[in-house]
Amino acid sequence: MATIIFYILGFTALIATGLCITRRNPVHAVVYLVNALFALALIFYLLGAPLVAAWEVIIYAGAVMVLFLFIIMMLELAPNPVDEAAGPGWMRWGPVLLLGLVLVACTVLLILVDGQSGEGVPTYYASPQDFGYALFSRYALAVQVVSFQLFFAAVGAFYVGKPPKRRRKEQA
Amino acid sequence: MAEGIDVYKRRYGQNPKSLWRDLKGTVEPFYVTLRNMFKKPVTYQYPEEKRTPYPRYRARIVLTRDPEGGERCVACYLCSAACPVDCISMQSSEDENGRRYAAWFRINFSRCIYCGLCAEACPTLAIQMTPFYEFSGRDPLKMVYEKEDLLIADGGKDNEYNFYKHAGIGVANPRGGNEDEYGPVDVRSNLP
């Protein structure tokens, strides 16, 4: 059963990614990419990495793609480009509905039929604890380096984004 | 901005950026709303409780009559022109002694907003408003009132006034026969 779900999710992710690449409407592309990311997160969950799955959703689908969408919505103020699948209605909204339904169904299925309960469970199960230990003991140095880099990046962004002195004075 | 801060300073007598003031300003309203929750609502439960409007309340429109019992309306169209929702329509006409009157006069009460501009505009005090406000129906056609439905057998708010006694066109009295008029001139009375 887990194998079947895996393949379903895999194909979903593939199709969604393909559609994402071929869409000319950026918002549609984002929607398909979110679908793909969600399918990927479910695959992670299926493979025994719930923490990674959750972060996939929270960070990629929930934050990065939202920022993409934010920018697109701010910029894409021209009238909607011509729908690429200018054909019958289902051609346009069929794929997204289908993929969405598949994902929701898989989510429900995965939640209900507990991943740890039966067959097909992967041999290695990465619980949040395992993950945390790995991150902060074995890879502590790497994490520190990355976090410093992020910190520098944040400081840099703050500096670049700061209004010039003169303007600050005016604002005050 | 600075003035605003001054106002705050005067009112609170302390630093306007005080956290205490902010907290108080956030929490106090909760108390106010909670207190209100336990007060009796001021709503009239309309169909059961009715209120008596004042005599000059602006509701259903009527057409009044002059002291002699004639229709006051001269179909001058001023009410329909004043009406902001175009609910008044009429057709003026003339009777055998030259009196101008409305052949038909119609108010669509399903459109009327009871603003009173028609009564304000009426130069002959024909159109007046009454306090009868319970006035609704499900069939819009039944809300269309004709002259026969609108006319009342009374002069309404100014019972003495008769437009034709002042207009000087010889309908109520013969031409030149009103009290503030000289006798009529005609082409022959001008002859030497």
């Binding site: - | 169209y77 052949a103 002042h166 008029e181």
Partner: protein, 804 residues
């Protein structure tokens, strides 16, 4: 050109402009009553006071009476002149009655506006008011003297401008009375203009009495369809009914005024029998059904008998767009059988005028400014009334006017009248062009010699001719004459009165096509199986009703698009309703080739007063407006050809196909219109068709003539004009009457090829011998006497002779 300063703004104006006009040019509108652009200034109302600070005159002056001069500095906003205006308004309002609610002028009353503008809102005068008795001024004008403010505009309009004699002013101190000597209809055919001229409600339109307020009327600038002059009018409708027509302003055509036929003859669109629903074989049907049937029948006929089996008849009262689409429909079917006027003489005349008039066309404004006028074969008051008024304005300036016409041409001004028999008119034209003058009688020759002398001496002469007596050949000769008389320094302009409002446009579209006589022959020969009539009735222009009737009877398909209950509309196998002029938009090309736009003032539909039964609108909610089926003819014709065109598309197509209509699509309503570009080279001359002359023993040559209110196709359906229609009469010269021992006013019997009719006799002193005249009066026995078809042989007998 003087430059003056008004309220600190400088303006340069033409020499002779008065200060009031100059201020108007700056957008400063100062109240005034007596001044009117057409009537001039008299300084009677004392309202246009301005303060002249610098310049040749000083102090408070009446601006309309002062000519603009250089270095004038004028203020209108200072306290003194403002106060003066306010006081004058207050004096004017002192006796004014308190009857605005029952006054028809209310809402468009200049006095109301000026009172408000002058800031006068409370009457301080508490004494008695002066009153007047009113007069019955007939079916068109209402009189309410109490409202008078003594601006004298009515008298100046009626007497001075329009030449009416039966209305005037009489007064002692404050009892000035404007009226007639006794009750009765105002006799001038321009009497309605005092309604427009009166700034308050003294004279109001009786046909419009108590009908509508100004603010409820849907108005749009339009063009009068009653004659070919193209006067600007403003029809106004309400409750789907034409309520009134008032004069529009077009300085090139009518100026400011219109005739009573235009003003009171607008009711044809509200005729109670107007067909409003499409009909197929006499049964009412829906639009898609009727259109499908028409298209199918015509394709069937074309398939069976070839494209020549379908003929088309356009109309001089249909818009240029509709006529053009009819033409293009015929062309797309492959049929060249299209005529634009059922009256072939009028049709030919229009083609000649359209082809040859060119830059010598005179507008009414040219006539007003001319210095010698020769009218030949034209009866303006009956054929084109505003022409008479234009001529009067010239005559008022001292211009000489000569009339050569057998008919007793009545004009509102003095004229030298030379009554010549119609047969002599071609000789006169010859003579004008330099031919032999001695072919005419001695007396006539002397008179004509005088006319010719004046014509040669004049600097801006205008020749005016009409098609009814001259015919196409005569019109052509008149145009040639004008060309001969004109030189580089001396323009000689011509005006040809044509039959319908769009005759000129039809003439351009018709080119070398057949006339309706040829189509009639085809119908009689059985070659033509179908006739499509666009807003036209073949019977109305036909010289031989029996022959036309027979030809129509042979048709397999008679299709009519019309808004009038004509005979053709009634008998048509297929009828499609169209919109009347006030309900539709389009272009008319008037008799001088001026393209004039008219726009739709109201929607078609059965008037509320009719659909409601009596005067009460029905108390129902209907999904559609009753009687609103009529569609503009151009829309229907476009639809029939499967083309969805807007008016703009059609106009652009016309411009493409006929380059002389250049500028058509950029015209705007309410403007002066635009002369069409000249046709070059001019089309070939129409074949000359001589007048048939036949002499019979004891017979008279009977000519039909137009009547002011009784002849026009549209006027015939306007019920308001009924009081103006005369009872049938026949006119006879004094000599002929004496020979037959008949006397004026006697009831006689008129017998001609069209049968016998009993009519009253009018003896006219200077009618040439051997000639009788009848007016064409629709709806009477004289309906079938068509002007412009030549003459009828007739006999006039007294009733007693008839019995024996």
């Amino acid at each position: 050109m003087p430059i003056l300063t008004i309220d600190n703004q400088q303006i340069e104006v033409l020499k002779g402009t008065n200060v009031l006009e100059a201020a108007k040019g700056l957008g400063i509108v100062i109240p005034h009553f007596c001044y009117h652009e057409a009537l001039g200034a008299v300084g009677a109302c004392r309202l246009c006071a301005m303060n002249f600070v610098e310049g040749p005159v000083k102090g408070i002056q009446m601006a309309c009476m002062i000519e603009a001069k250089d270095e004038m500095v004028i203020t209108t906003t200072d306290q003194a002149s403002q106060e003066m205006r306010a006081r004058v308004i207050e004096w004017l309002m002192m006796y004014h009655p308190h009857d605005c609610p029952v006054c028809d002028e209310g809402g468009e009353c200049q006095l109301q506006d000026m009172t408000i503008a002058g800031g006068h809102d409370i009457r301080r005068y508490g004494g008695k008011k002066r009153t007047y008795s009113n007069q019955d001024l007939g079916p068109f004008i209402c009189h309410e003297m109490n409202r008078c403010i003594q601006c004298y505009r009515c008298v100046r309009t009626y007497q001075d401008y329009c030449g009416g004699t039966d209305f005037g002013v009489l007064g002692t101190n404050q009892r000035v009375y404007f009226g007639r000597f006794r009750d009765g209809r105002l006799e001038s055919p321009f009497s309605g203009n005092i309604v427009d001229a009166c700034p308050t409600g003294v004279f109001t339109d009786r046909t419009f009495r108590y009908r509508t307020r100004y603010w409820d009327i849907e108005e749009a600038p339009s063009v009068c369809p009653h004659c070919s002059l193209g006067c600007a009018v403003i029809p106004g409708g309400r409750f789907r009914e034409l309520q009134r027509v008032r004069g529009g302003v077009n300085k090139q055509t009518n100026g400011f005024f219109i005739c009573d036929r235009a003003r009171f003859g607008g009711g044809y669109g509200n005729h109670p029998e107007r067909p409003r629903v499409p009909r197929v074989d006499g049964a009412q049907t829906t639009w898609p059904e009727a259109l499908r049937a028409l298209r199918k029948r015509i394709t069937d006929l074309v398939a069976r008998h070839g494209p020549g089996a379908v003929a088309f008849l356009g109309s001089p009262r249909a818009s240029l767009e509709a006529n053009y689409l009819l033409d293009s429909w015929a062309a797309s079917l492959g049929s060249r059988r299209i005529a634009f006027d059922s009256h072939w003489q009028h049709d030919r005349s229009a083609r000649v005028a359209a082809g040859k008039l060119g830059p010598r066309a005179a507008s009414l404004e040219d006539i007003r400014c001319s210095d010698f006028i020769l009218m030949i074969g034209v009866d303006p008051l009956n054929e084109a009334p505003m022409l008479a008024l234009a001529v009067r304005q010239a005559v008022r300036r001292g211009v000489r006017l000569a009339v050569i016409d057998p008919r007793p041409v009545t004009l509102p001004c003095a004229a030298a009248h030379l009554p010549l028999a119609p047969e002599a008119l071609p000789d006169v034209l010859e003579a004008l062009a330099g031919g032999d003058i001695r072919r005419l009688g001695r007396r006539e020759a002397v008179l004509l010699e005088g006319i010719l002398e004046q014509l040669r001496a004049a600097e801006r002469p205008v020749l005016i001719g009409g098609p009814d007596l001259l015919g196409a050949a005569g019109i052509e000769r008149l145009l040639d004459t004008a060309r001969l008389l004109a030189s580089e320094h001396r323009p000689c302009k011509v005006m040809t009165v044509l039959a319908g409002p769009n005759s000129f446009g039809c003439g351009v579209l018709a080119r070398q096509g057949p006339d309706f006589e040829a189509i009639l022959n085809g119908m009689l020969a059985g070659e033509i199986k179908a006739l499509v009539c666009l807003e036209s009735d073949p019977m109305t222009g036909s010289s031989d009703p029996a022959r036309t009737g027979m030809a129509l009877g042979k048709l397999e398909l008679l299709a009519a698009l019309d808004y009038l209950p004509t005979a053709a509309a009634h008998h048509a196998h297929l009828f499609l309703p169209t919109t009347a002029v006030p309900e539709s938009a389009g272009v008319y090309v008037n008799n001088e080739g001026r393209m004039l736009l008219f726009s739709s003032a109201m929607d078609p539909g059965t008037p509320i007063s009719v659909s409601g039964g009596g005067d009460h609108p029905p108390r129902t909610f209907l999904p559609a407006t009753p009687g609103s089926e009529p569609r503009p003819a151009w829309a229907t014709l476009g639809h029939l050809q499967g083309r969805r065109l807007s008016l703009r598309d059609i106009r652009q197509a016309i411009e493409m196909e006929h380059p002389n209509f250049a500028g058509l699509s950029s015209l705007t309503t309410g403007g002066e219109g635009k002369r069409i570009a000249d046709i070059s080279p001019p089309p070939e001359t129409a074949p000359e068709i001589p007048f048939p002359h036949s002499e019979g023993e004891g017979t008279l040559r009977l000519y039909a003539m137009e009547d002011f209110a009784g002849s026009g196709e549209l006027a015939g359906y306007a019920s308001a004009l009924a009081p103006l229609r005369p009872t049938p009469f026949v006119m006879l010269g004094a000599l002929d009457a004496k020979q037959r021992s008949l006397s004026d006013g006697q009831q006689v019997r008129l017998r001609s090829e069209l049968g016998g009719v009993g009519v009253a006799l009018r003896v006219v002193p200077d009618l040439p011998a051997g000639i009788a005249l009848v007016p064409r009066l629709r709806g009477t026995a004289l309906e079938s006497y068509v002007p412009g078809r030549g003459h009828y042989d007739c006999q006039i007998l007294s009733e007693d002779e008839e019995k024996t």
